[in-house]
C-alpha cells in the first residue's frame, strides 16, 4: 500500500526542486491529495501541469492509487 511519504518522494524525484506535500485523505492508503509547487510548471496549462504529476504514477492511478487529487502552482504564483 503506497504511503504519502512514498508518493511525495516519487514526485520529488520526477520533478527535481519541487516543493511537494502529499496527504492521505481518508487514512486508507488509496485517496491522496498532492500539492506541488515547481518551476517546471511555468508556461504550462493546468492540464499539462496535472499530467506531469499523474505521469509519475502511470497505471497505478485508478489502481493501487484509487484517487489522486492534485493542486499545482509555480513558485512565483500566489497559492
Amino acid at each position: 500500500m503506497p504511503t504519502p511519504a512514498e508518493l511525495q518522494e516519487r514526485i520529488r524525484a520526477a520533478l527535481p526542486g519541487a516543493e511537494v506535500n502529499v496527504d492521505d485523505l481518508t487514512g486508507g492508503g488509496d485517496h491522496f491529495r498532492a500539492e506541488v509547487v515547481s518551476d517546471r510548471f511555468e508556461g504550462l496549462s493546468r492540464i499539462q501541469q496535472h499530467k506531469l504529476v499523474y505521469d509519475v504514477f502511470g497505471p497505478e492511478i485508478g489502481g493501487a492509487i484509487h484517487a489522486l487529487s492534485i493542486k499545482t502552482s509555480t513558485p512565483g504564483a500566489t497559492p
Binding site: I47, K51, Y54, I61, G62, A67, L68, S69, K71
Partner: protein
C-alpha cells in the same frame, strides 16, 4: 460492441457536444464524490451539458483515457478540448474561469451543500449498445 466502436462513440460524444462530461453515475445520481462535484459545478452555472456514465462497462473508461490521455474520472470537455478532472473543474469554477469559458455569468453565491437541479437534458448512455 467492440473496443473500437466504444472509442468511436466516445469521440463522437466529444465532437457533438459542446460541453461533455464523462462521469461515474449520472448528474442526478452521481456515484462518486468527484463526479458529483463536477456535475454540481456545471449545474450551478446553469449550462446545458451532456453526460456519459462510464460505469456500465470498464472498457468505456479505458477507451476514454486512451482518447484523452487523462487517467481519472470525471473528465470535462468543452468544444472538444479536455478541460480537466474534478480538481481543475473546481478550481476554475471557484475562480470564475469556468463561467468565462462557458460564456455564462458566475453565480453570486457559490452553492456548497445546496445541490442545484441539473438542467433538463438526458444523459447519453452506452448501456443499450453494449450487447
Amino acid at each position: 460492441m467492440t473496443n473500437d466502436e466504444i472509442r468511436d462513440f466516445i469521440q463522437h460524444a466529444i465532437d457533438e457536444n459542446g460541453v461533455m462530461l464523462f462521469m461515474k453515475g449520472t448528474p442526478d445520481q452521481p456515484s462518486c464524490g468527484f463526479s458529483a462535484r463536477a456535475a454540481g459545478a456545471l449545474n450551478a452555472l446553469g449550462v446545458q451539458y451532456a453526460a456519459l456514465d462510464i460505469l456500465p462497462d470498464p472498457r468505456i473508461r479505458e477507451e476514454l483515457s486512451g482518447v484523452s490521455g487523462w487517467p481519472t474520472i470525471p473528465q470535462l470537455f468543452v468544444n472538444k478540448e479536455l478541460v480537466g478532472g474534478s480538481d481543475i473543474i473546481m478550481e476554475m469554477f471557484e475562480s470564475g474561469e469556468l463561467a468565462q469559458l462557458l460564456g455564462v455569468e458566475q453565480p453570486e453565491a457559490l452553492p456548497e451543500d445546496d445541490p442545484q437541479p441539473a438542467p433538463a437534458r438526458q444523459p447519453i448512455g452506452l448501456e443499450n449498445r453494449l450487447d
